[in-house]
Symmetry: D2
Subunit: 353 residues, 4 copies
């Protein structure tokens, strides 16, 4: 058994940063070397720097008195870096770590749509890691940046990938019902959330529409050719703590039957399952038979929030097929997504140690 690899968490004090810390504190391959955060927090202990907001867990995941350092390679270098920074900070700080030789696994939106940056979901497009060579060559970095998509997109493409592979997707509509934790803390005001639906989340619909076609696209030379799929997203905030729900309608090539679609979803296994990556669920898509499942309250925490749940697969009078998808926005859609990306990169031998 090899020694565990030191890793850094950038933005360790926020809602996603805490999820990174909780996952990494007990990870079999990684060792939490640095907890980094903004100037306001650096120099404090982790418990002074933030209130622990992850329900049901021992506060601070055993890192209560760890020192928080600043987000610079001088203070916080490690060969693998996880970033929970917001987009503005990420745009400045992530390249500093990549330049210093780190492989940065980022949850931020800053670099997702750059041509030479892999936007990665290990079950969906592991071959996009080819872009790392392009990125290093073009930017002259020893390290690199790998992004995971927006939470809503991550959950959506997890269900789409087997359908794209088996049939080909022509068009899709998705109406999301998103949890408040997706906006961080303090995030959504309770006066907006309680007993309410808010039909707008800033920047969310374009992200879903453009990230989906990059994720389902193919690497052609030095960039990804987006999939030729018409995507339309309508995003809503609902009074749920964790778990994004998505009503999806899709037009598939050859108009397969509902039974054929169900079988493809149920049989789906991909590289993370074959490699038995530590954060990969045994069943990446859980297909529900009960007519009223999945539901956030009952299903979203299963498998550490890493499985994606599909239910109510049925015919759509307009596009051919419709179904309901649920996933954990902070795990499959954020911290767990980045950690799984790092596991895949390591398993593929892409981390220089």
């Amino acid at each position: 058994m090899r020694a565990r690899i030191p890793v850094t968490v950038l933005g360790a004090t926020g809602v996603v940063g805490q999820r990174f810390v909780a996952r990494l504190a007990t990870h079999p391959w990684f060792e939490l070397a640095h907890l980094a955060a903004s100037e306001r927090s650096s120099g404090k202990s982790y418990s002074e720097a933030c209130a622990w907001r992850m329900g049901g867990t021992a506060p601070y995941a055993g890192c209560k008195s760890r020192a928080v350092v600043e987000c610079s390679p001088q203070a916080a270098f490690a060969p693998i870096v996880f970033s929970a920074l917001d987009a503005g900070a990420a745009r400045k700080i992530e390249p500093e770590f990549a330049r210093a030789g780190a492989l940065v696994f980022s949850n931020a939106s800053a670099f997702r749509m750059e041509a030479d940056v892999p936007l990665l979901v290990p079950e969906v497009n592991p071959e996009h890691l080819e872009l790392l060579a392009v990125q290093r060559a073009r930017r002259g970095w020893r390290g690199a940046i790998v992004c995971n998509p927006n939470c809503t997109t991550a959950i959506l493409v997890s269900a789409l990938a087997p359908l794209e592979r088996a049939f080909g997707i022509e068009a899709l509509l998705v109406a999301s019902m998103q949890a408040v934790s997706g906006a961080g803390y303090p995030g959504v005001a309770s006066l907006d959330a309680l007993g309410n639906v808010v039909p707008f989340i800033r920047g969310e619909e374009p992200k879903v529409e453009e990230e989906t076609v990059k994720l389902l696209g193919r690497v052609r030379g030095a960039a990804v050719e987006p999939a030729a799929i018409a995507v339309s997203a309508q995003c809503h905030r609902v009074a749920v703590v964790d778990g994004h729900s998505e009503a999806v309608s899709v037009r598939l090539r050859g108009a397969p039957s509902v039974a054929a679609v169900r079988e493809v979803l149920e049989q789906w296994r991909a590289e993370p399952q074959e490699r038995q990556l530590p954060s990969a669920p045994a069943t990446p898509l859980v297909l529900h038979d009960a007519e009223d499942r999945p539901q956030p309250r009952l299903d979203v925490e299963r498998d550490g929030g890493m499985s994606v749940h599909v239910g109510r697969v049925r015919a759509c009078p307009v596009l051919g097929c419709k179904f309901f998808v649920l996933g954990h926005n902070l795990e499959r859609g954020a911290a767990g997504a980045s950690v799984l990306n790092a596991e895949l990169a390591l398993a593929r031998g892409l981390v220089a140690l």
Copy 2:
């Protein structure tokens, strides 16, 4: 000024029945003659028969000590009858009142899809009242039954009607986020509602799909020819008390611009507005400019719950146009809908007094 017309409420003790009582207790044209309910309640006073569940109002709307009678024409006849019965009871009881000469305005689903029964929203298809003559002739009733649609459909077609008239609709997808009051009391268990989304409401999707094309269809001889629109509905329950939200995507003939769609929605006025019916809002469709509106908590109670709210009109990459609709499921979608139907029938001279 003419004398007020006696009316009966069937099923007066339930969530919708109480809304009927509250509306009718102060109605300028109608006088609440009978509160009727099941055997369990008849013989009791209204306050003994049920707990008042309508927030913000004086309990029992002044009818606290009114006697509840049984749901038979012998006990509860009036020329106008409002029915909040469930489908099973409605199927038996509503014809008894129609046969006895009453015009029954029903919120139940029992007769909505019968060929000779008008399924009516006064702003949408007032000409369907022509079916009353067919119904009376065929069934040999002196009275008749007029239905309002399911709550989700009522709100949806209110936004679709001006688009169908101005452009023609080819296809539409709707994903609903429905309030718990739509299921009555006790209805949805709190363990299913709190912090949750339930992706299934029994019978709801077929209702939306078939009622919509009947409402937007045309009377041809003795029946309605359904509109030739492909309709697909995905229905979800969310943690909202009152107010159904709907994410709609629509393919319109001629692919009009967003500006053209907005103008049509904003200019929309119909017969209830022209006739200034007492329950008709001055503006049947309220078009919102703020990017995060309408919202159930802020908008659904306006105009006594009778206006329908539209927001976020924008281009849809798949079907051409998408928007968000909100309405009050218990008013525009139930009690208020039936009362407005009765007002239209009376204004058109269809009530025999």
Copy 3:
């Protein structure tokens, strides 16, 4: 009929400020002369300056295009001024208006505990208005400041006043379950509110404990002698939008029976009822018989949020008597409270016009 009196709202853009505007836009005695707010807002129209957050009402209460002015007597003087400022701003701005001759009715906590400032609930301690003469003499102001208590206190003392008068109170414990709207907007984070109880509201418990004994105290010379009552408050935030609930246990002199307590509560009428002030409910305390009432969702909006609801009056094995109290924190506890204070002052001839 006399002309309506011009009034100003300070802090008109916030959650309480909007309530003031809605109440005053249609008030029979007052005319909304100035909408004032912070520098960030002044110069804008009211609808540019803030999003309207008061559910169920026409947005901006008809004041959509009114200009917002700055919070200075130069820009916004009126003989009656309502203040929804936060404590810091109030401490500076309210005296400027009082000095300029205005009678300031303040919802802020800044001056509530000053010896010469009446802390007023018209049904509870109207005689405390005597302090106005002291205040003017001591401070050399032509105008004066009158405060309403903290929302939790306002609701509590409304139920205590008749008991203090009829029996005398020796000690009381109150455990509150407070609505999120009490913290304004954005206020409480939804991650703290959804499906949760937060057992702490900064500053709230001391306010309840000290304001209650001032309100129930007597004017002795130039100050109020606090009532000799031991008060203990435990304050909690719950997932309710509007309406503070309070579980109260009280030790009364002479240990009256539950029946005697109920009768005193039910019979309670006070000066605002006698004078039929426009914002005064006919029944200041609504006594509920149903064992599960009052409830925020069902009862808090009655009478424009100005009645206080009491239920479950029963024996307490420790202090003798316990009951449950509910009131609207933004109306009886804030905007409505200040407006009722102004109505009382005007009716008593204390406003110089």
Copy 4:
């Protein structure tokens, strides 16, 4: 290592029954021999008999296809029986199992207040197990019944026990804010729970008041002499899924300082900790320092829901000391409580094998 002991769950399909199954499916000492439920369920597989409602867990805890049997000793005998029956069924069925020789650990209220039945919380009153001999002698049973208290009481006495032992309690008031899961499924209607507080839970206040003094009392001969403590409970339902919150004020002998009370609470360890029972948390009372903790959403799931959380210990102007308590109503207050009781009985050698 000894063989695992066969156990039965009565009422295995309900909300508490499922918790029992989940706990026992992986218990180190017990082996789930029989899942028993009402006639409606017996004969079906477990997954046919009920929908799994325990969030975040694999459905049915691996017992999906186990057969459900009827609640009789003939069909479901085991030396240890856990009962999640409702009171009516428990009154009939539990004695049948006790007569047949089983030790029945019951969550039902049916026998809690019988003189010869131990009402047990292992950290609080393990010596009450002495009553088993009395019970067997009096009733002629080979087995016996051991009850855990009502959920609200279980959580309350967990915090009171160290104070009673260290100082003695004279009087206490508790205002509860209880989760909806306490009422089972379907239980509380969502129209009563969403954005609301209901100030009444049938039978709850008397249970808290009488069970508390039995639990804190002493065995005198053949019965428990209740503790001489005046107890007053006010019980409320709030919009929380799992976790009962309780605001407690207490009068202690000798009026100890807040620091002394905190120290007693923090140092508290009892027999389950000394014996390291499998379901016992290492720290039975978790004392929180943060001024806004504990909170249901953040704290209630820790330690499998078996730790009780105390926060905000401070002086009470009326009774001397007040604090806030939180615990998991379905674990520390129901299924986990019964399992811990069985572990204690087994460790003390009271189970005949």
